[in-house]
Amino acid sequence: MSELNEYLNELKASARQVMDGEGTAAEEATLWPLTVELGWLLTAVPEELDGLGLGVHGVSMLHTELGRGLAQVPFLAATLAVDALVQSDIDTKAELISRFTTGDAVTAPLADVSTVTLTDTLNGKLSVVPSADTASDVLVCVDDCVVLVKLHQAGVELSARGTWDTTRRLFDVTFSNVVLANQVVLARGDAAVAMIARLQSLRDFALAADCVGAAAGLLDITIEHLNTREQFGRPLALFQALKHRCADMKTLIDAAEALLADSLSRITDEQLAEIDSQLLAKKAKLVACSMFADVSEEALQLHGGIGMASEHPCHLFLKRSMLNEHLGSGNGNYELDIADHFLAQLA
């Protein structure tokens, strides 16, 4: 366990070093090749499949650091698709994993708003798919089926969706009579249901980590600003009203971070599809998203005018926090899920 921890800390340190080197909101064109080269996509892949075997803990470290730097890479989407491959029983699994962790990009939708239906063919729209234009394949989950679909084939159309959060490039992917038999089916029936549940947990934990990292990075920038900037002949950081608000932000961040770490420590990778894990992931995401929204709203105010200029990264954090809240599903839905599960357990 402590060996693993050491390993994880090393991973975290190296990720932070890379992100610091690239700077806040490093562009996809620079950072993505580096991400692949450093083997980060192999973090959660088991050792028998030539991965690092660091599981959800390892990936969570990376998400936190990528969040801190507002990395413009579709890392989360790719890790979800790779995880689906790892969980699958298909023959070409090793080959595909190798391909998607070292060369071609694979992507997956990040929000529960798909209208795709599946019979012998796929039809409908998959939304919130990051960097679909540079990916070769996309992961599609429909009811009790998980499929890997090629993006460059007849019947598949991409359209870019402009978003406020410019650290993500999102696409709608529309399917018109895409023949299922020509795609790679990763799971069906109960196995698919479990796989989808697992992917949701992974996604929610990842988004929680993203929020925690980003909020911590933003608080650092904010404190730096307050320490530097003077008003009425003294640094802003000397004003108690501002200090107290920073203390509240710090406490919110640490509580969200503790909840994420605690939740991850309560489950093994194998339990990710279970309902309790899903609930833990939803709680972690809900707390982290609310926290990140609060922190970024406060940070913009504390930055004053300079925060309203697009040259300053402050707004990028705010916009990421707003989008994060609606990835997976919105806070309101998670709050209800958590309450209803709690009430059902009592009954």
Partner: protein
Amino acid sequence: MSESDTQTLRQEVRTWLQDNVPSGWRDAMTGVDQESFVQLQREWFGKLSKAGYATPHWPEGWPGGGRSLAEQKVIYEEVARADAPRLIMYFVALYHAACTLMECGTEAQKEKYLPGILNGEIWCQGFSEPNAGSDLASLKTRAERRGDKYIINGQKTWSTMAQYADRCLLLARTDSSGPPQAGQTYLLLDMKSPGVTVVPINQITGDDEFAEIFFDNVEVPVEDLVGEEGQGWAVAQATLASERGLTLVELSQRMRYALPMLAETLKERGLLEDTALRRDLGKVIARVDACCALADQYLLKRISGEEKVGDASMVKLCYAQTLREYTKLGRRISGLQGQFDPDFMRGATQETGNWTLDFMNSYNWSIAGGSNEIQRNIISERVLGMPREPKTWKL
């Protein structure tokens, strides 16, 4: 003014607005470039000015002038009610420049500049500086007297539409030896003068309604000095007081008239049955009404001469906080959908129905013109009588 006179004016303005507000201007202003927006501003100013509704606050004798504050309030309320475009580009000229000239300008200055304003000359304000923020007293742009000219060097920022301005109300330092508020001088600067460079500020919303102005040995003739040299601070107070109250009455009313947009968003998203969101809507409706009531009450106090120090701060703080809550609810209702479509609408004040945009724009009111934090200082010290921030201190 009697109740029935107000009613007559109200009806007259309302009818005029019904006939003259450019129809569909909101759609026409979405996703367009700045030039189209400028065009709309020019046209709308022309109409309003001709009708006399652009200058109700000017003295008797000027076209449209001689209206009481109560009448001005009626016009502002009706403009908000009619959802007319805001005269963003002309506001500084019509209020800040004109009122400063009327109050502190020489006869020669009035003759020289006021007709130009009526004809659509655009003015900008050169007060804020990059490192001064809400601490206006600390500004650093220098004005050095050489013969019959001042030579200006320095930088101003957050100047509304400065890229289109013909002239600038400039506050610059002529003396650094005294306390920070002393030694400031108020000048009227021609934006076409050599050495003036304007760089629009790319805002987080994508808009570039504000700009930075750089001054490199820019010459201003001494006849464009307003008030005494070194007394610019007092003149600037007159500038800032010129529209005090009216803007917040208008903006609060606009918030109220835009409430149906929140309902529209609820409906579009199929959330009319969501009890929690409906309650939040009810809460916001009541909050908006309270904000309107506070702004109205403030203007009534001004009219009756009962305004006290700090009253304006409470109205501004209340508006900034209510607008934040209001746009945030819109953003929440919009859900994921609200995170797409970063196209912005120009000149539509704070309520465009693109709630993510509106939410971000709400920071303009909590930061600019004295941040919420500054207002809280003023309220606690001047209204509640709590001790001022220490002048000096030791860590």
